[in-house]
């Protein structure tokens, strides 16, 4: 136990002495947590539209006004030439072209039916779908309005109508950062844990000090604990800094669920994450190798965690990968506890899985560590 005391003393001294790295692992996550959630917004707004109006009638102008009124659409250009509009489209200045044919108003009134043409830039498929749906809804409204003007006593009044009442729980204003902050915080804490732990241990290998340690009577598990405990403490600290510093003060996110459950899960989760870092270090001879492995793992962890894209939408094989990913569970649990007020009872299953992972990764790492030295 005395040896452990000296090891911990040494580790903390080394960590606090290197102010550059300390700044990187404390300030960078905070800055990123401040900025990223504002940028990671899926809500589709500010769709640029080009209107090609061959009609120049009262209707065509009314329609244009109606499209621009709610604020989703921004008029990029209004003209009479489709090729011009398409040029804007190619330059990515507009996402959507609405072409109103000549004689649109007349045709509609005379023949009871008229056509519009819409071209959508579909490189970003989701944006295209949502944008065109918005536009269709506005055109349908415009249609109903015209109908009402022409037929003062519309028969639609007697048709059965289904009214839909929507209620958004936990986040009634559909505030996007509210959802992103906990997820990004989890990824940042995971990065700090995996990178710091794996690089630090490998550095001792690369510099040669680990050989010195190996000829001393220090027990292997003392050495490993001496490495894991400081990074565990740092992980706890960075998470708290993000949760209470950035999320609470800046984004006004108040954790609604059990903090005990959240920190209990975090404690186990960090052991699992540091186990992965340790494992990476046992498979690497130098820092460059450790970095390569750590980056590869971290990238897959991040993409497959449900941080940006929903896991349920993935094909089955990918869902399996997501289920083997520790980050998935912590993001899920953090969002549940912080946003929905879940408690211990709701996260039991996740806690069980993450505990198993913590045991698994650390056992593997220690087994491999023994074997190589």
């Amino acid at each position: 136990m005395r040896a452990l005391k000296f090891l911990l003393q040494k580790e903390f001294r080394q960590i606090f002495r290197n102010t550059t790295i300390l700044r990187v692992i404390l300030i960078m996550p905070v800055i990123q947590l401040i900025i990223m959630p504002l940028a990671a917004d899926y809500e589709i707004k500010n769709i640029n539209i080009s209107v090609v109006d061959h009609d120049h009638s009262a209707y065509s102008r009314q329609l244009t006004d109606k499209i621009l009124a709610p604020g989703y659409f921004k008029l990029n250009d209004y003209g009479t030439s489709y090729p011009n509009a398409f040029g804007q489209f190619q330059k990515d200045r507009s996402d959507l072209i609405l072409e109103i044919p000549a004689q649109f108003e007349k045709t509609l009134v005379k023949e009871n039916q008229a056509n519009l043409f819409m071209a959508v830039n579909a490189i970003n498929g989701v944006k295209a779908l949502v944008g065109s749906a918005y536009l269709n809804r506005i055109i349908a409204d415009f249609n109903a309005q015209i109908r009402a003007n022409w037929i003062p006593n519309p028969q639609t009044g007697t048709l059965p109508q289904i009214e839909i009442a929507t209620l958004n729980r936990f986040n009634p204003t559909l505030n996007y950062p509210f959802f992103m902050v906990p997820g990004i915080l989890v990824v940042l804490v995971t990065m700090v844990g995996v990178y710091m732990c794996s690089l630090n241990i490998v550095k001792e290998k690369e510099v040669g000090t680990i050989e010195q340690i190996n000829v001393t009577p220090i027990k292997k598990y003392h050495f490993i604990l001496g490495k894991l405990i400081p990074f565990w403490v740092i992980g706890m600290f960075v998470f708290s800094l993000g949760l209470f510093g950035v999320a609470r003060l800046l984004y006004l996110i108040v954790p609604t669920g059990s903090l005990v459950a959240l920190y209990g899960f975090l404690a186990v989760y960090l052991v699992a994450v540091l186990g992965i870092g340790l494992l990476i270090s046992t498979y690497s001879a130098n820092q460059q190798q450790a970095m390569s492995l750590a980056f590869f793992c971290m990238m897959i962890f991040m993409l497959m965690s449900g941080l940006f894209t929903p896991i349920n939408s993935m094909p089955n094989w990918a869902q399996v990968i997501a289920k083997l990913n520790p980050v998935t569970y912590f993001i899920e649990v953090t969002r549940m506890i912080v946003l929905k007020g879940s408690s211990f009872a709701h996260i039991q299953q996740q806690l069980l899985v993450i505990s198993a992972m913590a045991v698994f990764f650390n056992t593997w790492a220690i087994w491999n560590y023994r074997k190589t030295s």
């Binding site: 040896a3 040494k10 010195q212 000829v215």
Partner: protein
């Protein structure tokens, strides 16, 4: 010539890495307080042999004991009784002189009081009092190595293993380093030194020449020179090493 009573004792010790025989049936013994030189070209198997004796590497066959402890089964006891300083610099560069002393003393289980005493004594001997709070990375190489050696004998081990301890150091500092080694030997510490420098070989009580993993010569420097009718150890070494088939690294 193997004597189980010796401080270091090896009998037909071998290490194979797959097909490759790094160390082939070496036998020797080292007495208490002796300065034992271990010489050989790069790749001759010096470091492998030393790692086996320190308990870092398990031998393939043969037997060996360090301070009476078996290298197969009693590695923990061995570690308690040896000091080690490797060719790659072995102190923490981002800790200060005093912090390094405290750390290595601490993990060998020195009690706090003794730790403080030893630290003062060591700083005094090395005349590093003013540098106690200096980071090791800021010290000149010669001082670093003297410090590393002193740290390696801090816990008063029976044996100290030195793996090319004076690499890259100027001749004056090397001389000072050997003064430290002699002083340690005076205290009854046994020193096991590998080196490239043939002038250093002259300082040893006895020398063991390793060629292609086998012992080609083992005697005092004077006797070796006589046997090979050579003026200097350089000539002896050249004469023996010529027979090597292995290329360095």
């Amino acid at each position: 010539m193997s004597n189980p009573q010796a401080v270091i004792w090896a009998d037909k010790l071998s290490k194979h890495f797959g097909e490759f025989v790094a160390v082939n049936q070496i036998s020797f013994s080292v007495q208490k307080g002796e300065i034992f030189g271990f010489l050989g070209a790069n790749g001759a198997g010096k470091t492998t042999a030393m790692r086996m004796l320190c308990g870092l590497l398990l031998p393939t066959s043969g037997s060996a004991a360090i301070a009476g402890y078996d290298v197969y089964t009693q590695t923990e006891q061995i570690k308690q009784n040896i000091g080690y300083m490797s060719q790659r610099f072995s102190l923490y560069e981002d800790l200060t002189v005093a912090e390094n002393i405290r750390f290595f003393g601490g993990i060998y289980g020195l009690p706090d009081k003794q730790l403080k005493l030893k630290t003062d004594e060591l700083l005094h001997t090395l005349q590093l009092h003013t540098e106690a709070k200096t980071l090791v990375s800021a010290l000149p190489l010669g001082w670093k190595q003297k410090l590393a050696f002193s740290v390696a004998i801090l816990h008063e081990p029976a044996i100290v293993f030195l793996d090319e301890p004076t690499g890259g150091v100027d001749p004056i500092t090397r001389r000072q380093f050997w003064d430290l080694i002699y002083a340690a030997a005076q205290q009854g510490i046994t020193l096991f030194v590998t080196t490239h420098y043939m002038d250093e070989a002259e300082y040893c009580n006895r020398i063991c020449m390793l060629v292609d993993g086998e012992i080609k010569a083992l005697d005092t420097p004077a006797n070796l020179k006589k046997q090979h009718q050579a003026q200097t150890m350089d000539d002896v070494f050249y004469h023996l090493a010529r027979t090597a088939k292995r290329t360095a690294d």
